[in-house]
Symmetry: C2
Subunit: 264 residues, 2 copies
DNA sequence: ATGTCTTTGTGAACGCGTGCACAAAGATGG
DNA sequence: CCATCTTTGTGCACGCGTTCACAAAGACAT
């Protein structure tokens, strides 16, 4: 998963732990698939396997919602789909605005899974006057000037920011001032928001860097198990030369270790 | 942040906690901004504010990397940029393939932050023969048949999956079989991979659902603090009618509460 | 009705992550 | 050289999340 919790460090909302809330959509997806196959009931073991989690964790998660299972049988699929949907607030309509209709914003607007679960793209907003009126995913793009009006007249409480990093905070401030209280941020910036506003961050670059860290560790373990600084990539292809040049010495080694960036 | 850890539940890699690794890119970004403004040193307090974290947490995070600060002064910006980059493996070149060049895949290919930090888009791969040869972001799309060849000849160890959900597992299997050991998955599916392969998931739909949960809770608290089932949205606009119809009764209420999905 | 068998729901223990608070370290000025 | 002041690095305690293991509950067969 590509997200870190930003705000709300450990707020246990209505007794449901944050970690559990984050898994509910996962269960819901697995249950929906079972529902489409007309499977009537499912055990915690089966469902856990489908969702990729531990069965004990799943049972504990469900126990926060109530006792919805039947011992000796399992959980009723349709009933559970409804209960989780209701708990997540998906039984109501959530109008969403997307701000910043570049490559990513357009992709989000076209994303099918968006509308599937109660989320409705109410408006697309971009700062470029040339974009105004242009249809994207069947919706005409509107100019940033209209932002406040759109938010208020549509009762939008969820905003998606897909602008460049430089514009994100400003857009965020305007969204919040207009009444938005939940923000999904794709811009690579830390957003500052007042209390009561939730921000979730999706950052491609961070995800890749985390993968690179583990990848490097794997490569280092392969070549030498002494656990020190990695030497070269485990994959002996084109990366080797660059890797060797960049990663040569020991931590806090001689000057040759730290080229041109050593402190005074 | 929009990602959840998938694999690797609590593996402490080389003594660096997973939570710390996830924050290093954040610090690196803030430090890079300082570096561009030619700021020589920064205190843990300042840097923590820029990265949106607690200063004690930041100091503890850095302590896992070593003693890179100077008491009474702070941290040398350039030196820290280098150390974190090296720790994350960003001093070497990481060729990346993107599979699935639809709206999202194209957006990812065009994403600037991709190439900025050692990640290089080595190839774009799509199953549609009509896409083959078409340039996206300056790179010609190649057909899925070439997948194994591309991975092996470029020494690719990181793959990005941006295909529809139905194709994701199959693509994943082929990537892994060809030698990829880190996968960033944008498809809304749980991927099954062998041990030693890292998967990180970016799921827009899940993020929105988590936001909706908190949004619903906020609305429920506004109207009635008795903590029961929410009644209507806190925003009195167009959503009210739909919300009232959908969210009416109490948990485990009479049949009218659960329309057409009640278990036997 | 009774026994058996399956599966849930949860008490308890453990480990990781976070934040406080402070001692140690070094810079800086006199 | 000494005193003071700033800032780091970390010991410690606390809380959340995960996992194990098992008792309770209900289905089902006889």
């Amino acid at each position: 998963m590509a997200t870190g919790r930003t705000h709300r460090p450990a707020t246990r909302s209505r007794g449901i732990p944050e970690a559990t809330v984050a898994r509910l959509p996962l269960y819901l997806r697995a249950l929906t698939a079972l529902s489409e196959r007309s499977v009537p009931t499912v055990s915690s073991e089966e469902l856990a396997a489908a969702a990729g989690v531990n069965s004990a964790k799943l049972r504990k998660d469900f126990s926060y919602l109530g006792s919805y299972g039947t011992r000796g049988v399992g959980y009723d699929v349709e009933y559970l789909v409804y209960q989780i949907s209701r708990e997540l607030g998906l039984t109501q309509d959530w109008p969403v605005v997307i701000v910043g209709i570049g490559n990513l914003g357009a992709a989000l607007a076209n994303y099918g899974g968006f509308a599937s679960r109660g989320f409705r793209v109410a408006a697309l907003i971009d700062a470029d006057p040339a974009m105004a009126g242009k249809p994207v995913a069947g919706i005409a793009v509107q100019h940033t000037d209209e932002l406040e009006h759109i938010i208020e007249s549509n009762g939008v409480s969820i905003g998606v920011i897909a602008t460049p990093a430089g514009a994100a905070q400003q857009v965020c401030d305007r969204l919040v001032a207009a009444g938005v209280t939940s923000i999904l941020n794709f811009a690579p910036t830390v957003l500052t928001v007042p209390d009561g506003v939730d921000v979730r961050k999706v950052d491609l670059s961070i995800e890749l860097q985390i993968l690179a860290f583990h990848e490097q560790r794997k490569a280092g373990e392969e070549t030498g198990p002494e656990g020190g600084a990695p030497t070269t990539s485990g994959r002996p292809a084109a990366v080797a030369a660059a890797a060797e040049a960049a990663v040569a010495g020991e931590r806090k080694g001689p000057d040759g270790d730290v080229p041109a960036v050593m402190p005074a």
